[in-house]
């Protein structure tokens, strides 16, 4: 088998600027998404994800402009998420040079949107982002539900059933974030990742909780993810993407080096 497992650094972008700190010694402007994307590309990122956390829709075009600039010089796949609500939003991002869009809340408010989007643009560019939280008590069989608004608002939707439904509706990939682990640096929720990955036919990207390179390895070997996404360990230059890939390869995982 030749298909490599992917490492995807994620940039949080607000009003066209990267908001989480980035500590690269040779980067002049730590807030410039183009400069950071260029750096990740050089280090060997397999894809780059942009998450738009702009509060108002007025500034959405700013992100499209960022994507266009990045796509003009970085020739690897780009995924854009955050605030994608209409077919026009998707069309605009793809036209700017994005290859895939991540859709989260819009799918929860209107699941049919995923059908329409996949039919119009093809499943390969529709990534459904799932924010899940464990809702079962200790000792019970594990259950996870979908949360919105950064994990604050429950929906009562079972995460595994939701993933299966979204794939049936045309999602080509699942970006799975554990809201219990996000920002904790204690590792992915491996049980959740594995449960979703085994339930669906499409690739699953694990996200939320990476603090060490071993966490990336576990996401693949134990969580059965096809790709791993991380933000802070790369932004703060704790590790380079090259180091992460080398570590994965040393642990028997096929990567693109």
């Amino acid at each position: 088998m030749g298909l490599a497992k992917r490492i995807i650094p994620c940039l949080d972008v607000k009003d066209g600027r990267v908001v989480k700190g980035v500590k690269f010694v040779d980067i002049c402007d730590a807030g410039d998404p183009v400069e950071i994307a260029r750096r990740y590309d050089k280090e060997g990122a397999d894809e780059i994800a942009f998450l738009d956390i702009t509060a108002t829709s007025d500034n959405r075009d700013t992100l499209a402009h960022v994507v266009e600039q990045v796509a003009s010089e970085v020739f690897i796949p780009l995924t854009v998420g955050g605030g994608i609500r209409t077919l026009e939003d998707i069309g605009r991002m793809l036209k700017a040079g994005a290859d895939k869009v991540g859709i989260n809340s819009a799918a929860i408010f209107n699941p049919e949107f995923i059908k329409e989007a996949a039919e119009r643009f093809g499943s390969q560019c529709i990534v459904v982002a799932i924010d899940a939280k464990c809702v079962s008590e200790d000792g019970q069989t594990k259950r996870w539900e979908i949360f919105t608004h950064g994990g604050r608002k429950e929906t009562g939707i079972d995460a595994i059933k939701w993933a299966i439904k979204m794939v049936a509706y045309g999602a080509g990939e699942i970006l799975l974030t554990s809201m219990d682990r996000d920002g904790t640096k204690i590792g992915f929720d491996l049980e959740l990742t594995r449960a979703i990955s085994e339930a669906v036919e499409v690739p699953v990207i694990a996200s939320g909780g990476v603090g060490t390179l071993d966490h990336l390895v576990e996401g693949i070997t134990k969580g059965k993810a096809d790709a791993v996404l991380a933000a802070s360990i790369f932004h703060f230059a704790e590790f380079t993407i090259g180091e992460a890939k080398q570590h994965m390869q040393n642990n028997g995982i096929e990567v693109r080096l």
């Binding site: 020739f75 040079g97 290859d99 039919e119 093809g122 990955s197 036919e201 699953v204 059965k224």
Partner: protein, 214 residues
């Protein structure tokens, strides 16, 4: 001036492919166009594509570009990418069966669902990510690209029933499938060279340097 035309039939991301061509050939005139005359007067033509086959073929026919592409295929170097590769075949089983351009004999079929293995073995569909490309013959398209170099793929269907003499490279998922074809002055690749970093840019450069003969 050397002109490269990217055929615009209204589908998908043409920004990346045009920027990639411009990057490897800064002096070339890279045009994204739906105009028949412009396309037919270009030196090299690229048929890109993302999306589903039915809409892709409908868009190609609605814009009347099917005849233009057939003319290009008889006269100058043409590169089909991803859906643009599959569109060059006779038929695709996508969307309940779609007739394609019939330029390269063959048809696109879906990766079989894996019944013997558990999904946890990670043979996911779409086939998405960086896979190795194995050159079967030496071809100018792969000049200076290492054997088993990785390219970025994103697809659920692949070319089948293509004469082996026309298959210049294969990839494995899990069985070997054709990922680069050559039919006279027409070449086609299943992966996205415009998203495959150095190797991809080198392939595009090779294409623009190709006379369509060797």
């Amino acid at each position: 001036m050397h002109t490269a035309a990217v055929i615009d039939y209204g589908m998908g991301n043409l920004h990346s492919i045009s920027k990639a061509l411009k990057t490897v050939s800064p002096n070339a005139n890279v045009i994204v166009s739906a105009d028949k005359k412009t396309i037919l007067s270009a030196d090299h033509v690229v048929l890109p594509g993302v999306g589903a086959m039915r809409d892709c073929m409908a868009a190609i026919r609605d814009t009347g570009l099917d005849e233009t592409i057939k003319q290009v295929a008889k006269s100058k170097p043409l590169l089909g990418i991803c859906i643009g590769m599959q569109a060059l075949l006779d038929h695709s089983e996508e969307n309940g069966g779609t007739d394609c351009l019939g330029i390269i004999p063959g048809n696109a079929i879906k990766f079989p669902r894996n019944t013997t293995r558990n999904l946890s073995d990670n043979l996911k569909i779409p086939h998405m990510g960086w896979n190795k490309v194995n050159h079967l013959y030496s071809s100018p398209l792969f000049d200076e690209i290492p054997q088993d170099g990785r390219f970025y793929f994103s697809h659920s269907y692949f070319s089948s029933n293509v004469g082996s003499e026309h298959i210049i490279a294969t990839s494995e998922y899990p069985n070997p499938f054709p990922c680069a074809l050559k039919w006279g002055n027409v070449v086609a690749v299943q992966f996205h060279p415009e998203k495959s970093q150095h190797a991809g840019l080198q392939l595009l450069k090779n294409f623009l340097n190709w006379d369509g003969k060797s």
